[in-house]
Symmetry: C2
Subunit: 402 residues, 2 copies
């Protein structure tokens, strides 16, 4: 039973992260343009887009909540299908929460000449100021040891995770065969998709680590992805494999107090975090890795150079401003996020008890082999279990967005 | 002789691009924080960093020009070595140019809730507003045909170029051997480094296309990188190879009126441009490809998804604001950049005639096998010819930054 609750908690929480925008909603120091954008109401069913405001003929463009459309989000879409699959923080209707009024400014002003160079004063791609702030953040939250650790930034945890896989594979150059990359089922589809897409001579995705446990060929080089808490099922999992040839990449995206209790700071060799699951700012594309080994750090820096010549300074400016606002709020932001999640969780539980779907759903009837189709018939979009290496008797759901 | 001048022009122009910041320097509509940053003088030898201003204890952090250091750039570094290798637009001392006063505002204000979602309203990673602006820009400048073409954004041309290589290699799945990737000597080191780093089963860097011209094995799949105007030597080069199995990626980074005459709009199957060589904003990491073929477009979109789940919206906001300011200025920006380059070119020519180094330098004496070391002895850092597939009798120089 705890398992079901855990699953529900994680799913609900992923979806409600955008609530945190309330803590970053004060534009008292921002200029007229931003204020004008804020004044666009989008009929109460969307958020005015900055990019839209500056667009063709200065017409506002609204990003509409689910089930609404039109330039000002005033048109309700009849028979709207609830999308419980993808994460759309900006579509939530968070603008009316009174907490906005008390939040620290997170508005950012960038002048024409800011951040022009590829690098910073120290010839790196990474802002020292932002790095110091990330150290402070983890010390404050207590979710990771960062003292005497190296930090690498990337375009979201997506880019950081593949950088880590390249860096750890390169360590095993003596081997002729590619490094095996494994992740426990159900795994985050990204791990599999990325490894199969890049399809390097250096690594191959080989599925579940249990397949390789206690095998005699201990010489094979292995990278295990451990997502903890796990996406999609919320497990607080650990590594399955160990040994001198096993490297582990810990995806710690959900290791924040609004998702899970934090009994102790994590202290693994290589841990990955992302802004999207902390403040909800997925569009900024900002993630970071905390690394013990200097060689691995240097290889990840090389990866960032080869891949995109560093990380957008605009994304770094933004991350800096958001994390600073977050730290100025203290623990309040996590308390608030936790309360919001609890309320939504209760709401989801009520929906579940009345309508009978689940967050990590198993269609129990033998004939319901394709659980996804069963739900589609009820206008609910989930994601097939096979996407996570599981069977199609299972479906992953996110809670409704409205 | 035209060749030497062409080389000089290109090198000088790369280095002076940052002058364009003058056109984007008006912060009349920007808020107090940005104004406060602007008021930090950095002793006249640097630019105040936005990120620094928001840093530890709100102390300003200056990005110092070459040969200056210290928190306010007041310390001159004795026996300073001129770095003619790397591109540092932000380190130029452009702040005093009177054109600043007349420029259109390029200041950007981003509120806490802007751009939170991974995607835009149309479920893509790319802003339609920005795409429309890029169409306008090319139509205005007349340097590329974009009508009925697809556009993909990436984290600088760096990421866009590798996306193109992946996309074109994937087209050749019937072949067992990897696609050959070639680039005429001297080539941009990035092309070689990226292909060798990613080292996919799909492609292998094979050096100069002349090696493969008129070879009998016409079945081999080939990708040719054509940088035109070329980096490092400024040639207006074309493709060397053709045939049904040859795909060409045109790196058009320098195809703007301040670098070269534009006799006609370019109209190749796949062309890559970048903000860094247009406005000098290298740190934003924003580049784009213009593509004829829908399948190639879709593959490049997939690459962006696998690599970094799209492009930072903050980088897209910034690019939008800068390109809008640029278009509002009309041709003036290119005239200004051209004038500035001409002035610097004349200055470089004077330096050359008095001190005897060159922009694409050949050390003619047989004993000067390592031209890089010869220059280092004179406190000038260049880049070895072998980095471009050439001999170490050659060195690539950028003009002095101050």
């Amino acid at each position: 039973m705890w398992y079901v609750w855990c699953v529900l908690l994680l799913y609900f929480s992923i979806c409600c992260l955008s609530s945190i925008i309330m803590w970053v909603l004060n534009n008292s120091r921002a200029a007229a343009e931003a204020e004008a954008v804020a004044e666009i109401s989008c009929s109460g069913h969307g958020i005015a887009s900055l990019d839209g405001f500056f667009g063709n003929g200065n017409e506002p463009v609204c990003e509409c909540n689910t089930c609404y459309k039109g330039p000002d989000c005033s048109n309700f879409i009849p028979h709207c299908t609830a999308n419980a699959d993808r994460y759309h923080p900006a579509t939530h209707d968070m603008m009316n929460n009174s907490l906005c009024l008390h939040s620290t400014s997170s508005a950012l002003v960038v002048s024409g000449w800011n951040g022009m160079s590829y690098t910073y004063n120290d010839n790196t791609f990474f802002s020292q100021q932002l790095e110091r702030l990330i150290h402070k953040l983890h010390a404050f939250v207590g979710n990771a040891i960062t003292r005497n650790r190296y930090i690498v930034f990337g375009a979201g945890s997506t880019q950081v995770l593949s950088a880590a896989a390249y860096a750890l594979s390169l360590q095993n150059t003596s081997s002729q065969s590619p490094t095996r990359v494994v992740a426990s089922i159900p795994y985050h589809t990204l791990h599999k998709d990325q490894m199969e897409y890049f399809n390097s001579e250096k690594f191959k995705f080989e599925g579940d680590p249990y397949t390789w446990k206690n095998r005699s060929d201990g010489t094979a080089n292995v990278i295990e992805f451990v997502t903890t808490p796990n996406n999609p099922d919320g497990r607080l999992s650990g590594a399955i494999l160990d040994g001198p040839n096993v490297k582990t990449i810990y995806d710690r995206a959900y290791y924040w107090p609004h998702f899970t209790p934090i009994p102790a700071p994590a202290d693994e060799d290589l841990m990955v975090f992302t802004l999207s699951k902390l403040t909800g700012h997925a569009g900024t594309r900002f993630g970071w890795a905390i690394i013990k080994d200097e060689t691995v750090f240097n290889r990840m820096v090389t990866h960032m150079k080869m891949n995109s010549l560093g990380v957008s300074k605009d994304a770094q400016f933004r991350a800096f401003k958001l994390l600073k606002a977050l730290l100025e709020e203290g623990t309040g932001i996590f308390d608030f996020a936790h309360r919001t999640m609890k309320r939504r969780w209760e709401r989801l539980a009520a929906i579940i008890s009345s309508s009978n779907p689940y967050a990590w759903l198993k269609c129990e009837r033998e004939e319901d082999k394709d659980c996804y189709e069963v739900l589609m018939a009820a206008n609910i979009i989930g994601r097939r279990g096979n996407v996570f290496g599981s069977e199609d008797h299972y479906v992953r759901l996110r809670p409704p967005l409205a």
